[in-house]
């Protein structure tokens, strides 16, 4: 029948359009990834991998802030520690500290350090001008390395924050080891 044939053709056309829409939305899910990264970049929410710029270099000599350092490793055959556990700085004053890291495995390993701050609020006033956390670090078998962090605490830091803890955690870059042992679902 021509009438039912026409409806069937019409149905198929709509089916194809809706199926294309579904496939496009599947792609859209993946498009959200660069979109999200762009938003974080533009708004500066997530710039872990870029040096900050110190906007105000006026040193506030009237107060002193204690900075404590901490180093952790996550599931990684490295030893990682700060060379000094704490220092005192004036807000606005440039300070440099060093961390020591060594690879205990007999093959090269790549890791990435991710910083965190306590109190969390202090993070936005802590400007790192140089840091090993801006790039992935590859250590040869048994290599030991000393890595600097240069930072300025912004003088805008609220008065009641007297101690800031800077804590780094080194993660192994995913995928390097997974290919080797063949078991992705490690717990």
């Amino acid at each position: 029948m021509t009438a039912s044939g026409r409806i069937a053709a019409e149905n198929r056309r709509l089916l194809v359009r809706l199926a294309v829409a579904a496939v496009v939305m599947f792609g859209f899910g993946f498009l959200l990834v660069p979109f999200y990264e762009k938003i974080c970049e533009v708004t500066g929410i997530n710039n872990l991998l870029k040096p900050d710029t110190a906007v105000n270099t006026q040193i506030d000599l009237t107060r002193t802030v204690t900075i404590q350092f901490d180093g952790n490793i996550h599931d990684l055959p490295w030893q990682f520690r700060p060379l000094q556990t704490q220092i005192s700085v004036h807000p606005g004053e440039l300070a440099t500290v060093a961390y020591e890291v060594s690879n205990t495995r007999s093959e090269p390993v790549t890791g990435q350090a991710v910083p965190s701050y306590g109190p969390q609020l202090a993070g936005q006033y802590f400007r790192k001008l140089e840091c090993f956390c801006f790039a992935r670090q590859t250590l040869a078998a048994g290599e030991k390395r000393t890595m600097p962090v240069a930072f300025v605490v912004d003088p805008g830091l609220p008065e009641d924050v007297k101690v800031i803890t800077l804590s780094y955690t080194f993660f192994e870059i995913a995928g390097r080891r997974l290919a080797g042992d063949g078991a992705g679902g490690r717990s």
Binding site: M25, G29, L32, C40, I45, L49, L178, G185
Partner: protein, 525 residues
């Protein structure tokens, strides 16, 4: 199912018999029945998990299950209820009712319809089977947040594949519904004459096509992070676990409306029938449904107020969320206005519909409270949130499903449901539901975290009360099973128009609806 089969035997059905009849069927009524039976089995499975959770929480300390297994239970309870029970149940209603309501002989793509259903049992087997593999089922919460979901054992992979399969099934079902509604309406059935159930399902189907692929993308990213060395969500490789939450909730919030809009449709059919008045504000109901669907894409981050979003973002998502209360309020107002000065009777479907309006609205109000960012930061991940979403999902979606089941059972089986059993089911359900979930508001406000197998002593009394209510609620659902079985087996013969005030094309065909209906399209004036 045997009873249903014998019931259909007198219809003019041709083709294979026995099990093959169900595997090969392309009839929308058969497929609708299979969807409903499947979702009820999944509802009972998810219910057993919930009762195990409540048994553990009956007293402080660990008595019944280990914490690892408890986490698997909370996760699987959510996944099974959302993807196995509520969503397929609504698709079952759509299969049965939409062709009957718009005067079409069947769904647009009958063969694809068969596929949409038969993808579900393998997916459910994969999901439930993950309990029995080394490491157990996924325990990352039903939201499967990274980084936890990137770390779990193979149960997680099985859950991911199950979600893929169920997603494909949903998308095929949704496409079928859109094409059926847009192209297969009887002559004279204009869009604005369509029953509201068809409207809400049309809009829901568009939502499904838009967001199920996004969920598929999100879990695919988890899968490649787990096995193929990508770093979408792993901070170490330059990814971001918070991004998972954004992608998930971009799906997840429209998903909430996917589970409630068809419920609104069912209620909008039932209230006019038993108030014996046309639905108040039909056009505004259609526009309200569409506005809810459109707004649902701009509120997802209200699930993420504690992730360190900028204040501007929090304010935007807070106001956008509160805006959704406006079209929802229009709907509740219209239902109440439909009942106003109606000649109301309270048969079981109407009891569930009125119960729905009362209890769902309470869930809506707690939703409004959770939408306020400073309050949400306090109650995030507490039992307050658990109480809120069970008020809208159990007392909302599930009660609407019960209402719809009692309402259309005469059309499906040819017999009127037993009013005494139905009323017993309603009163047990609504009383035990409130005993279970109302105390959870207080627990949440007092700070009891969700998804934890143990709790501090001061929470003991309310938890005991909630557990008693939960067992009462769970057992009450066996009354529903009894009501349906009794109705399938026999009972008072139903007329074509089974309910005195019922309007619509589905009530013009005999009860039970013959195997083939509307082969000659009716003309709607």
């Amino acid at each position: 199912m045997a009873a249903v089969m014998s019931d259909h035997a007198h219809g003019d059905h041709h083709g294979p018999t026995g099990l093959m009849r169900w595997i090969t069927t392309t009839n929308h009524k058969d497929i609708g029945t299979m969807y409903l039976v499947f979702s009820f089995i999944m509802f009972l499975s998810g219910g057993v998990m919930a009762l195990t959770i409540r048994a553990e929480l009956f007293q402080p300390g660990l008595q019944v299950v280990q914490p690892e297994f408890f986490n698997q239970l909370t996760t699987m309870h959510g996944l099974v209820m959302v993807f196995g029970a509520i969503m397929p149940a609504f698709v079952g209603f759509a299969n049965w009712q939409i062709p009957l309501m718009i005067g079409a002989c069947d769904m647009a793509f009958a063969r694809m319809n068969n596929w949409s259903f038969w993808l579900l049992p393998p997916a459910a087997t994969l999901l439930i089977g993950s309990f029995f593999v080394p490491g157990g089922a996924t325990a990352a919460g039903w939201t499967l947040y990274a980084p936890l979901s990137v770390q779990m054992g193979m149960g997680m992979d099985m859950a991911i594949f199950a979600i893929h399969i169920m997603g494909v099934s949903s998308i095929m079902g949704a496409i079928n519904i859109v094409v059926t509604i847009l192209n297969m309406r009887a002559p004279g059935m204009t869009m604005m004459k369509m029953p509201l159930f068809c409207w809400t399902w049309l809009i829901t189907a568009y939502l499904l096509i838009a967001v199920m692929p996004v969920l598929a993308g999100a879990v695919t990213m988890v899968l490649t992070d787990r096995h193929f060395g990508t770093s979408f969500f792993s901070a170490a490789g330059g990814g971001d676990p918070v991004m998972y939450q954004h992608i998930f909730w971009f799906f997840g919030h429209p998903e909430v409306y996917i589970m409630i809009l068809p419920a609104f449709g069912i209620i909008s059919q039932i209230i006019p029938t038993f108030a014996r008045k046309p639905l108040f504000g039909y056009a505004s109901m259609v526009y309200a449904t569409a506005s809810i669907a459109i707004l649902s894409f701009s509120v997802w981050a209200h699930h993420m107020f504690t992730t360190g979003m900028p204040a501007v973002g929090q304010l935007f998502f807070m106001y956008a969320t509160m805006l959704i209360a406006v079209p929802t309020g229009v709907k509740v107002f219209n239902w109440v206005a439909t009942m106003w000065r109606g000649s109301m009777t309270f048969e079981t479907p109407m009891l569930f519909a009125v119960g729905f309006i009362f209890v769902f609205t309470m869930g809506g109000f707690t939703g409004l409270i959770c939408a306020i960012a400073p309050i949400d930061i306090q109650v995030q991940d507490t039992y307050y949130v658990v109480a809120h979403f069970h008020y809208v999902l159990v007392a909302g979606s599930l009660f609407a499903l019960f209402a719809g089941a009692y309402y259309w059972l005469p059309k499906w089986t040819g017999h009127m449901p037993d009013e005494r059993i139905g009323k017993l089911h309603f009163w047990c359900s609504i009383v035990f539901f409130n005993i279970t979930f109302f105390p959870m508001h207080f627990l949440g406000l007092a700070g009891m975290p969700r998804r934890i197998p143990d709790y501090a002593l001061q929470f003991a009394d309310f938890n005991m009360l909630a557990s008693i209510g939960a067992f009462g609620f769970g057992l009450s659902q066996l009354i529903f099973l009894a009501a349906v079985v009794k109705c399938v087996r026999g009972g008072e013969k139903a007329a074509a128009r089974a309910w005195e005030g019922a309007e619509g094309l589905e009530w013009t065909v005999p009860s039970p609806a013959p195997h083939h209906t509307f082969e000659e399209a009716p003309v709607v004036k």
